[in-house]
């Protein structure tokens, strides 16, 4: 079947479109109308006072902070480091998150557990864990990358405003102290400590690799 060509007509432009000036005037007319309507409404006092009565009917906008838009469960807020049952960080200092981070805003200094600790040889722990929340672009890659569910962004809070830039750099203690939007510091996912039933039991030092 021979293809049929349909020639679309270019939308024509009148001189007033082309000159722009006329159209700008029309646009200004619309916005001016809205401006005067809005001002008349505000001045006439028909609109409730959003400060004294933030939840009143008739306010077109959301009266933050009295009223907040609900965030989705998976909304990415400030990071937190999840805890194990004994309160230590779940993080094993594998550096997956800092490698995945496109903004390169995670700094981790890994450390080995001391001799005799049941975890030695199986995993390391973060001696330092620092996130520069001002540099972070809140992409969530760190959360995706973590094999241990140790870093999460399910806190539901924004980064608060600080006066100096250094306050935006969250250290390990601060990250550990942040709770999820449900108030927990742990993670739903279970975790097997060395020695538990279900723990694979092969360690880095004696695994034969």
């Amino acid at each position: 079947m021979p293809g049929k060509t349909k020639v679309l007509k270019k939308p024509s432009r009148t001189i007033s479109d082309q000159s722009y000036v006329v159209e700008v005037m029309k646009g200004l007319g619309v916005t001016l109308k809205h401006f005067f309507q809005g001002t008349a409404q505000m001045v006439s006092g028909n609109v409730p006072d959003a400060v004294k009565n933030p939840l009143a009917e008739g306010i077109a906008t959301i009266s933050y902070p009295e009223q907040k838009r609900p965030y989705a469960e998976r909304w990415r807020g400030v990071h937190r480091l999840t805890h194990r049952d004994d309160g230590s960080p779940r993080c094993v200092a594998c550096l997956c998150c800092s490698t995945a981070c496109p903004a390169q805003c995670i700094y981790i200094k890994p450390g080995e557990y001391p001799e005799g600790d049941a975890r030695r040889g199986y995993e390391r722990y973060p001696v330092e864990f620092v996130i520069d929340e001002l540099r972070c672009i809140f992409c969530g890659f760190c959360v995706e990358a973590c094999p241990c569910d140790a870093i999460r962004m399910d806190t539901g809070v924004h980064v608060t405003a600080f006066e100096v830039k250094s306050d935006f750099v969250y250290d390990k203690d601060k990250l550990m102290s942040i709770v999820s939007q449900h108030g927990t510091q742990n993670s739903e996912n279970t975790r097997h400590e060395p020695g538990d039933a279900g723990h694979p039991g092969i360690d880095r030092l004696h695994g034969g690799h």
Partner: protein, 382 residues
Amino acid sequence: MFFWITSALKVLVAVGFLAQIGALLLWVERKQSAMMQSRIGPNRATIKIGSLEIRAAGLVHSIADGIKLVWKADWEPTGGDHFLYRLAPIAAIVPALCLCAVIPFGPTVYVDHVRDLYDPAWATDVATAARSIPLQIANLDVGVLFIFAIAGAGVIGAALAGWSSDNKFSLMGGLRAASQMVSYEVAMGISLVGSMMIFQTVRLDEMVTWQTQHCWGIFVQPVAFVLFVTAAIAETKRVPFDTPEGESELVAGYFTEYAGLKMGMFASGELVEVCVSSALITTIFLGGWQFPFVQLTGLEFHYFGINVSWHWAHFIVVALGFLTFTLKCVVLIFMQLQVRWTLPRFRYDQIMKLGWRMLLPAALLNVLVTGTVLLFLNSSNG
């Protein structure tokens, strides 16, 4: 002595006023856009004195912003040129402040005769003229040319900021600002040539005098008015010409790396420019401080067979002139802010095309037509 004291006073008042105008216009801009978009706008900041709560329709926010800007961490990028980095905000705001020096904001005040009816002899009487206050800081012979020179210097601030910040976005913003301002400077200058030919002067006070005696510049140069307003908005680097700081492409353009008060200087410098360009448009196209049909002597209406001559004391004419000038400026500032909230941003190449391929030829054509008409009128008169 009298001259120095009055001049110093005028400088103090004008610069003091313009330094505050940024805060005021910031509020106007916020509230105006809110009214336009069915929002509420600034309303939370409150000054509490006992049980009295002052919110002033959100005006307190400007004070809060000022305090915040002062107390912000004065962070500087570690790379780049620190001296130029600090110089840039000053270089951006000073030209804007200088511009107001040549704008006449009212008729000359003859201190000895404030209660008398106006007499043209005052201007030539040496003793009276010596004790007169022209409501203009510097009455330069080069007038408009001074304005072009200083307005052209405004680009240095943006370019320096872009260069010294050691940031790609800043550099792009600085380059865009420089090329945009240089391009529109050309169209802006040429669009005024027609007006200069008609007024036969480049002094701003004489331009106002001409308009007082004949008619407003907008009626003899309507095309130049549109061109000049467009170019002036482009010079202020505000929407729809704000590609130098287009936040969707360049974060904040040339002042990306600025914080606190330095950033505030850029922001308020922009608003000062809006104010000054409004004053300039008023002076050149809208009759300056002239209230319609009011001459220096008082109301003079001689049209449609109606002849009214109503003479007023000198100080009334002066006060009316000053108020008229302020009112015209306020309306123009309002319109400029309205344009900013109405139009979407142009693309960068569109801005360049508009400047070089539309405004410049139109301005040149305007000069040609004006010249031809003037030549024709002069030859038929003489």
